[in-house]
Amino acid sequence: MDTYDIIIVGGGGAGLRAAIAAAESSPKLSIALVSKVYPMRSHTVSAEGGTAAVLRDNDSFDTHAKDTIFGADFLADQDAVEMFINEAPGELIQLEHWGCPWSRDPDGRMSVRAFGGMSVNRTAFAADKTGFHMLHALFQTSLKYESVNRYDECFVTTLLVNDGRVQGITIINIYNGQVEVITGKAVILCTGGGGRVFPFTTNAAIKTGDGMALAYRAGVALKDMEFVQYHPTGLPGTGILITEASRGEGGWLTNKDGYRYLQDYGLGPPTDEPVHRKMELGPRDILSRCHMQELEKGRTFEGPYGHYVHLDLRHLGENKINEKIPFVRELARKYIGIDPVYEPIPVRPVVHYMMGGISTDATTKTTLAGLYAAGETACVSINGANRLGSNSLTECLVFGARAGRSAAEYASAQSSPSSKPLEALARDEQQRLDQQFLRKEGGKERIATIRQEMHKTMEEGVGIYRNEEAMQKTCNTLSQLRERFKDISFDDRSSIFNTEVIAALELDFMLDVAGAIAHSAANRKESRGSHTRTDFPKRDDENFLKHSLAHRTVDGPRIEYSPVTITRWQPEERKY
């Protein structure tokens, strides 16, 4: 039984930032950083466009706050947003000091670019591999802290809760299949989102909502899970992300008639140079809906992977494309054989980000003593019903750092957990894992089949446009899949690097997350941000200006609500 002061689950942007913050809080604290992959494989690596903060004199905290709250369709907690925005510049500069290779202006300052829904250029970037560079800078910097002890390729199966507080975790060491216990006075979940509950997503394979399910099972509510962001520009077929920075740098969206259709949806007038918050720089939820309406009107293209529109970058010219968005060119050439210097890129909306997650306060604390969460897996909420592009990397930094400090403070005041009750809990967990996963024999359901059926029902019921009937059907299908999951079969019964067992554990988690999404969505009888209902097309502040809280019960999710904190920005109609 390994013992630490703080356990961090997840080694992406938020987890690494938390680890460094905790290590810097006190060199005496011992820290375990547990990840199912090597940290530099984490999905932060795929973020492209940039990370937002007020870095220039022409910008202000109030403007960034207002853009964020407006983008969130007023479901963000405004006190948390203000805290986030105040700390954002310092975090970006900290990362600059740690070696992140930010793109620079001629005078040597970090460059900033335009992004959707932002009224000023405030998105710092490292070409169009911002997440990759941030992740590697954080990972490489983390190597100098001797108090951070990594558990690479270890999958967390449960939180050990005793005496009303979290006191450790159990893991499966993927190398040898052994179930091990790690005790800790505090646990921080930084496991990212769960876009893989949907069939068509920009998200990497590892994004299976593990942390959300771990917290949910330990009795912590999942907040605002119905809000799932579609990014308007993914490659058809694979769902590979084509960054919003391509539009920030001046790219156009055109339909099959070559027409910049966004002008028909109140986002105009079209201009040659990009204008903040207009046209292609509108927010993601609205742009994704515009695409679907173009489809209804029969003005999208039809290809082997369904409908798509064009992202036209040709007028930017080869030099600008190479300098500002080289990865876009690399991805388009490699994966679809199109060079954006000469041809438009086919794109369509794709599941990208979950605004919802483990309910935390602005210090990253959850309702379970000792448990903290940060990054996409958490919901503070600063993103409300729709996140603005380039706020999420900053969120990983600001709240990752906050989580590290909060957990350090808490752990310093706690005595070590007593091992006896944890051993008993661990024995129960070993038994559960043996019966359902590690030593399970028989069964006739294939993991991939259940996963595919989950994908299908999620897309049908809780996609861009939703209605009562379709959502109820999805809720029912998900409970049937939960039953069928009990009868899964395994080809692989060995203990060494058994990725089939890991896939089953991930699917188990995803079914919980999917259920929370579908039930939260069915209960919200209004349209707000990314949650768009054809049967309730208007926002309803009187009844639904509140956060959804999904609690896990034996009969499925129970949905409750909590108030939204409004400080200085009163809800108004969201028009761009």
Binding site: V45, I93, H97, G99, Q140, L143, A204, A448, I496, T499
Partner: protein
Amino acid sequence: MNGATATLNITRYLPGQDQIPRSQSYSVPYQRDWVILDALNYIKDHIDGTLSYRWSCRMGVCGSCGMMVNGVPKLTCAVFLRDFYPQEIRIEPLVNFPIIRDLVIDMSDFLDKLKSVKPWIIRKTEKQISEGEYLQTPEELSAYQQFTQCINCMLCYAACPVYGMEPEFLGPAAIALGYRYNQDSRDQGKESRQAVLGSHEGIWQCTFVGECTEVCPKEVDPAAAIQRSKVEITKDWFKSVLLPWGQR
């Protein structure tokens, strides 16, 4: 789909069961726009759940899915079936590494080597956050930018004949990353990295075959980093011999 199939001959190895790695043949539907990784996922999902390999982003940036494809180190998410079809395709784990199972290699050696080159900014005096960023011009950025592109995919280690024979060799990626920090205008830690980079296991083992640069999927050019480090360390050494009184 027209019923066409592609054949993959894949290395299988399960310690305790297999004495030595063996090859197993699989047929998958041939899809023109499938990458090798799509075929592996098809096998895993529909034919044989025991096949083990790593993958995640499937867009060439996480660095997980490096394997030998017909004897050449490749990211399997970035190589298409159509580049080989209708020929059979041989998929093996990256060479020069211990095999954990099937296509999964043990890369812990690299993690230790990466740490040994101190891949972080070293300063004699730290600037406060309140003082803002270190200014760095685009020209200063371009001095090291190429070497920041390393995704730690290990293809260069699989291609490196020196690493194959001398496992203690630091290897292309670790050297390139050490060099990356040495060239960063914000860094002042060059001297503390030279002990490792300039050691017997460091740059001097490289015989400049250049295979690392050849296989790098991100155009990092580790060979250039190694050669330039050799020149710089040699210059520093001459200065230290000719000007031994700290006038460097």
